[in-house]
Structures are given as C-alpha cells and as structure tokens.
Amino acid sequence: MSSDQATQLAALTRPDPLQEATHPSAVGANPASVVRRLTGRKARRSGALWGLVFGIYVVSQVQAYISAYKTQGQRDALSKSFTSAGGLNALVGPAHELNTVAGYTEWKSVGILTVLGAVWALLLSTKLLRGEEDGGRWELLLAGHTTRRGAAVQAMSGLGEGLLALFVITAAATMAIGHLSTVRFAPAASVFFALTVVSGAALFLAAGALMSQLAASRRQAAAYGGGMLGLFFALRMLADANSGLSWLHWTTPFGWIEQLQPFTNAQPELLAPVVSLTAVMVVATVYFAGQRDLNASTLPDRSSSRAHNTLMSGNAGLTARLIRPTIIGWLGGVCAFGLLLGGSAKEAAQSLQSSPRVEETLRRLDGGGGEVKAYLGFSFLIITLLVALIAAGQVTAARREEATGRLDHLLVRPLSRRRWLLTRLGVAAAAIVVAGALGGVSAWLGVASQHVTISFSNLLGAGVNTMPAALFLLGVGALVWSITPRLASAAVYGILAWSFLVELLGGIVNSSHWLLDTSILHQLTPAPAVAPDWSTNVVMIVIGTVGTIAATLFFGRRDLAAE
C-alpha cells in the first residue's frame, strides 16, 4: 500500500471531528423551565401593556370626577341622583358613596376593568396554550425535559407572571394618583383595589387554560370561555338590575368581585371564592392536560360533518363562512350594549345633571331631544369603538390568511389578488354597516323600553354615524397591510388605542385641537345629541375607499409574505 493510500485510510479511521463535537454541553438556563420562560415572556409583555391601559383608565376616571364635581354639594347631588339607577347598575354595577372620589373611582372602574381583564385573560391564555398547540409548537416543547402536565403547570406559571405585571402597574398607577391631596387613597386600599380589578383576569386566565384542555381548537376554547364570560356577566346584570334577584350575585364571579368594594366597604374575605374557583380550574387544567392526547379535546368533538357547501361557492362565500362566528359574536355584543345603553340612558342622563360642567356640555349638545339624547351622544363612542374593532379584526384576519399560507391555495388558482382583497374587504364593510345599524336600532329599543321619545330615524342615524371611523380604519389598515403586512395588526390597533386614549384624556385636560384631530373617533359628531356631520363622514369614507383602492394596487406589486 502506498503512503498516499495509507494517509487516506488513516483519514477514514480517524475520529470524525464533527462526531467529536456532538457531545452536548450544558446551556445556562434550566431546560425544565423552558415552557414557563417562553409563556412568561409573552404574558409579561401583554400584561404590562394592559396594565398601562388599566392605569391610564383609573387615572382618567379620578381626574374626570375631580374636574367635573368640584364641590361637595355637587358630589352629594350626584350621589343622591343615583339611588334608583337600575339600568346603569346593570351595566357597570351598583354605586356606593358617589360623593367621594374613592366611591366614584370604584364604581367606574371595578365593573368595566373586571370584564376587560377577563376578556384579555381569556384571549391570552387560549392563545398561549391552545394556540401554541394548534400551531404544532407545543409538541416540540413536550419533546424536551417536561411532561404534558409539567408543561401545563409551567404555562400557568408564565401566565401568572403576566397577571403580576398587570397587577403591579395597575396598583402603581392607583397609588400614584391616590397620593394627590385631592384624592387620598390609602396605599393598602389602592393595592386591594388593584387586586380587585385584576381578579377577573386571574379567574379567566385559569378558565382559558381549562377550556384549552376541554376544546378541540383555540377558537373553540375561546368560544367556550366567551360563553362562560357572557353567562357570568348576564347573571351579574340580572342581580344588579332587580333587587328581588340579588341572590344571583352568589352565582357569578363578577358578583363576588363586585361585592369586594375595595374603597367603600372592603371585604377581602370575599376574595376566597374567586381564589378557590381559580385554584380549582388550575388543578383541573393540570389534570386534563395529562389525561388527554396532544391536539385532542377532552369534550367530545365532532371531527366529522356532512358537507355544507352553500357558502362554499368561492371567495366571497369562504370569507363569509370564515368570519361568521366572529362577526355574530361582535354583532351580539353591539346589540347587547345598544340595548343596555338605551335602557339606562334616562337615569344616567338625570344623574349627570348634578355636575354644572356636564350639564353645560349636555345643554350645548342638546339638539332638542333632551338630556337623554345628549347622554347617548357621549355614550355612542363605545358603540363606535366596538364597530371599529370589527374593522381592526378583519385587517388582522386578512394578514393571518396570508401568514399561514392559506391564501396561497386561493391565489394559485384563477383568482386575482385584487378580486380576493376587494371581496374580503367588501364582506368586512358589509359587517360594519350591519353592526352600526344594529347599534342604532338596539339603542332605540332600549330607549323605547324606558318610554323616552327619541325617533327611530334619529337613533338609526346615530348608528350609521359610527360606521365612517370603522370604514376609514378598514381602508387605512388594508393599505398598511398591502405595503408592510407584518405591521398591519399593530397599525390598526395602535390607531384605535391612540384615538380612544385621546378621547378619554381629551375631555379631562385641555388638549389642543391638533391633538384631538389625530383621533379618528373625534372626527364623528356625538349623534344623536347633534345631527351627524355627513360631509365629514363622507370624507372619512372616501379616505377609507382610497386606502382600499391603493391597497389593491400595492398588494398586486409585492411578494406574499407567509411565515
């Protein structure tokens, strides 16, 4: 054998340097806590963001009360006028000690923030548990140093970190505003107040995690959790609207939380049922996580079905079929809110007259229909926000179709990008129009039930008046998506959050009209208090339409960006 061949043989028998390098070395972090760290990172970020929203909301309510009711006499008048506000009680819960900053802040914050926190928690936990599982990422984590139950425990710990972020920021904001000499919240009371408003979030983090074990998909888990939330809220509403049904408070966590009364009559012992139910759901989550197969449901799932091809005739039908559950949910929400708003408007408007500032504003807005009309003019902002959220959701849904690669299946067939996008946005616009109209009609039904005379056309006009902001957002959001698809969700929700913030704070501090004009919600007149400004509305719709047309042009000129 030659020396060259010997060299080659030696090379073959020599240990491969690549194989030598295959001995794994320990990495810094504990591999057994990967799921907790991953879930915790996302949950902390989201919790901190919503903590800021909660904090700003609490601060804005305190500031609003201080500036609207300057004297004790005005505050006492407000308190007296609310003794029989049944409709408003149903909406946000009963008021206690409204002649104090603490009482007003508690009344305006606990009911609303508890529900908002519950919705946040439900969406977050189903996304981080079942959403990750649906996406196939969960099984990669389960192949590591953990078990199905271990991973569930870790994920719950991660969600706990998000809850902690929400609590800390809310408590800090409450303590900061409570430190003012005109407010004077005790630090312990501020902490208990923050604990109260995040307790709904804690409960629904656990509920979302449990539904993620029971349901067959994230969407189903969110729907089950949403049904649970709706039922609990409805029971609380019934309990607050009718004194004969007050025992219903004990059947719903929202009733338990409402009775904590952190500022007016603190009852910390009533946290026990909230904590107990949360603990039961956490334990059930861990139990079912170990009992079921990965990607399977605990509850029986209809994995087979007869084909329903009625809507499956093409792109428009598919869009309608895909968004149907979401849109039905939103339309239901708009209707329910419209009914409540209309039903409680008479009492709310009467009570608000105790503030000279509010009374002056109501008088200025009053176009002849009285204070109820003026109050509705203010309150339709929430319906406008709900309708605009439909637009934001549809822009995000379009992005999701592209990111998941599902859009590829349609666009590799004889369907142009322009036609797909216009159809998709057209269906979304139709949903917005229906939602706006339903908001007006349901508010009219609520008002009519209280024997207040406001014409149907007046309130329908107010409903129609909510649409331009949503159509503007839909067009502008589509334009952003067509240019930089990854920024689309952040852009639409950012525009909405900014607009709502400007509206919220603009009424408290004397903001410049330049700042106020950056809010899309500020462009709309407060109908039905005053007639809709149709010329402004048309401008907004035209901008939305131009955005849509530009979006079709830009979308046709860029690469599809799947993830």
Binding site: L9, S303, G314
Partner: protein, 329 residues
C-alpha cells in the same frame, strides 16, 4: 372564461382524455434570466429553463437552493428582481389569472382552513379553480383512501397532504406544479402518487416536480434540473447526465491494492482490505492499464445513480469529498 371560473365543470371522459391545448402552443414553462434577490443574497440567479408540453421535469436541489423560490415566481406569488417567466406563453406576473387557469399547484405543506371538512375544502378549491373532473376526484379520493367527511383539523399531516394532492390533481390542469408533494405520505400513498403522475403524463399533462426523494424523480421524470445556491448547474435526461458523470468502479485484488491516486481521471478512492472503489471521469483506459498489471481478481463497474449524480454536484461542499463517495452516500 369568466363564467368558467365561477362554476365547476364536469369534463366528460372523452373530452378529458387529453389537454385541450393545441400542439402549436409554446412551452409549458419558459424562464429567461429569472432572478430573485433578497438584499444581497441571490435566492435565484438568472434562471433560463424551458419545459416542453407533456414533459415531466424533476427539479432538484438541497434545502435553500431556490426550488420553492422558482415555483413561487412561476405562480406569481412573489415578484422577480429580474427576468421573466411564462406559463404556456402567458407572463406569470402580468397574466397571472389566465396562466393559473392552465395549472394546478400542490405545496409541500398543506395549511388549510381547520374548520372546513375535506369535502368542503375540495368543493371550495374546485369552485375557485373553475374546472373539476368530478369522476376523477372520486377516483382520487378512493385511491388515496381519504375520508372527506372529516374536518381538516382532525386530519393527520399525511391526510392533509392527500387532500391538497387531490385538490391539485382533480382539476386535470395542463400543468401540474408540485413542490415536494409527497412529504408526509406513507410508501403506499407514495405509490398512489406515482400512479397519478403516470396518468397525468399519459394524458399529456406537463409536470414540474420539485422533490427530495431521488428515487421518485428517477422513476417519474423525463428530464432532471439540478439547482445549487440559486444557480441551475445541470439539466438534461438521466442518460445524458450519466454519460457526463463519473463511472463507479469497484476492483478486488488478489494481493495488495495498487496506488491509483496518480491515474488520470480517477477520484474518490476508497480502500477496504483488498477492495478499492473509485470514480472515473472520462476514459477508463488509464485505469484499466494499471489494473491489468496489478492482479485484479474481480472488476465491477456501473453507471452512477441519480443520487450519485446529485451528490457529485454538491461534493465540493462536502467535508468528505474525494475520499469515499460510498461513505458520503
């Protein structure tokens, strides 16, 4: 044609027997200087490729070579940085919808709408395609053993792939663009897929098959194109490639193995006791002269497999290149 888009057309067996396109039509696929850059990286560099009608072309390359980029450019899903692509003479970017009437695409990853059933998905995609051979669809459903009443979210990865395969094949399109279509399929279904491609070939359909399964390409394709780092490095029939490629020689000696390192054209020498394996590029005469004087006991030679041809094109990047091809394989 617009009406055709909106409704499902059941092709009769007679009409469906051959593609309707005239034989005078241009090539199924033609690219000229097709280039796609992401920043400073050339995902695809000046691709010139022509696929005649009725041909089955295997499109090979390692991960990241630019295969999927090529397919997405052909489908008009991404825009070229330079050059052009035509499908049956139609510009893939400007006449996308018309081009798509002539093709069907099967991706390697079937991400479908989870709430729809298999039957609903097939119905929907058929409606959007505008052309479905309903009888053939039923044949395919049976062939691939798919339960279409199940919801997509209840399907395994393999079953989702079957569904998207059926959706692509049922259109009987003139051109099938298949991007690793058998990923996740078991060997039985892989056979069913091959059967379907043979059927398509018999009907005169053109098939553009990107695959990592070399045996599949070897069995199905008329020609093979090999892509490396975004550059087309070879294209031709297997016999053309074999002719230009190295011959594998294995010789067993009675005594010690002679030194073959200085023999012209001989590479990838591997020695195992009295047996030597090597590759011969060009004439085998110099090697035979050395072997004849070295007491060779047994001599085997064979043409390279597609796998060896494929690996030879990437051998320069392999750490074991030039030592022993068998080991690399």
């Amino acid at each position: 044609m617009a009406k055709r888009m909106q409704r499902s057309v059941r092709l009769s067996p007679v009409l469906a027997a051959r593609p309707s396109a005239s034989s005078l039509e241009p090539s199924a696929i033609r690219t000229k200087g097709l280039t796609k850059r992401y920043g400073k990286t050339d995902a695809l560099a000046s691709l010139d490729l022509e696929v005649p009608r009725g041909e089955v072309l295997g499109y090979l390359g390692p991960n990241g070579a630019g295969k999927t980029t090529t397919i997405r450019l052909l489908l008009g899903l991404i825009r070229p940085s330079a050059g052009s692509a035509e499908i049956f003479g139609l510009d893939a970017q400007r006449q996308t919808v018309r081009a798509h009437r002539r093709l069907a695409y099967v991706p390697g990853e079937a991400n479908l709408w989870p709430s729809l059933t298999g039957a609903e998905t097939l119905h929907l995609l058929g409606q959007v395609q505008g052309q479905v051979d309903a009888a053939y669809r039923e044949v395919l459903v049976k062939r691939f053993d798919l339960d279409p009443s199940k919801r997509v979210r209840a399907y395994s990865k393999g079953n989702r792939q079957k569904l998207i395969l059926i959706a692509g094949l049922m259109a009987r399109a003139d051109l099938l663009v298949l991007d690793e279509p058998t990923s996740g399929l078991d060997p039985l279904m892989e056979q069913a897929f091959r059967h379907s491609v043979f059927e398509a070939k018999e009907r005169g359909q053109t098939v553009f098959l990107s695959s990592h399964i070399l045996s599949e390409v070897e069995a199905l394709c008329d020609r093979v194109a090999i892509l490396r780092n975004g550059v087309l490095v070879d294209v031709g029939t297997l016999s053309q490639m074999r002719h230009l490629s190295s011959l594998t020689v294995e010789a067993t000696f009675e005594g010690s193995v002679p030194d073959l390192t200085r023999v012209p054209g001989v590479t990838a020498i591997g020695v195992d006791g009295h047996v030597v394996r090597c590759q011969v590029q060009g004439s085998v005469e110099p090697l035979l002269k050395v072997l004849a004087t070295s007491g060779v006991h047994e001599l085997l030679s064979r043409e390279p497999s597609l796998e060896e041809i494929f690996l030879a094109h990437y051998g320069a990047d392999s750490p074991k290149s030039g030592v022993d091809t068998a080991d690399v394989v």
